[in-house]
Assembly symmetry: C2
Amino acid sequence: MPVSPFPDDAQRQASREAKRKAVLLAAVRMFNARGFHATSLDDVAASLGISKPTIYHYLGTKDQVLLECVTFGLHQLLEAAETARRQPGTGLARLRTFLISYARVNMEDFGRCVIRTGEEMLSPESAERFRDLKREIDAALRALIREAVADGSMVPVDERIAAFTFAGALNWPARWFDPDGPESAQATAEHMVDLLIAGCTPR
Amino acid sequence: MPVSPFPDDAQRQASREAKRKAVLLAAVRMFNARGFHATSLDDVAASLGISKPTIYHYLGTKDQVLLECVTFGLHQLLEAAETARRQPGTGLARLRTFLISYARVNMEDFGRCVIRTGEEMLSPESAERFRDLKREIDAALRALIREAVADGSMVPVDERIAAFTFAGALNWPARWFDPDGPESAQATAEHMVDLLIAGCTPR
């Protein structure tokens, strides 16, 4: 049988998915570099040599594109929490694994976009979806803290304050981390997390 | 001598300063609530029952208004560092005092605006001024960390990573702290800072 030059359903689906991801990546990088408001979908389209209607076709309006970007980043964070919770070891070891992955996501394109996006940039419906996903991450982080306290590997802490403190410290690399800086992303993430865990008073 | 109904120079100066501050406060609150891009100076003017040219008169263009807002917040942070450095006690006690004030500023109008403002929102000249002031705060924080390590009240840490970790943790309340929440601003700030200092591993 000769190979058909016409794509089958699976090939069409894969091609569509690859195109969608390329558009999403071009958009998130431009949002991060220029700011959401200063970026037009025309610019994103031009950077890929396509037209704005093509972007609408794959992702929708500019608000929907931003929602897709932050959703992608928030899913990376949720996956990191699930992976960490399946690890063996103490509760604190699992929390540490999650926090390191959390920091690393925030140093990358989609995580940076999550941190740089204020709810006021999104439409009310998209902002609600954004808030819901952030609440899921917060709940996952609090559960990991609770488990670490429960098995005695972590001192008792106020779960809410600890979650906000850790998250804030590890959100901020979205603004300052420079991949060309003195330390790798992994080393920087471990360094920050170990400081949070150990504190800084002499023992 | 009858009291003159005409203001003298000092009164004119004080009145001008009070008006300037009122405009700045109205602007920063609207930027924080709606986002910078969604706020027009017409809205700010309307909220004070004045005209847009009056705002131009006191503060300048929208870019200059935002720069004034973040400068005000950054000066509050710099003053907090100077006050903390004049305190008696160990280096760690001084660092703790600064970090608590730092968190508190970020829970208030101008500090919130500093944290919510990305450099890409400002004109290139204003962004440079913003960056310079942020560098001053970072330098002040690093100096306090260095002094705490030098007098042995703090374990040796990487000054750069520690400064970014502490700052990130205490910047984030600009996004989540709710003055109507379960804990006061002061208690929340102390709670976070003591967690950062003590860490969370059992001793």
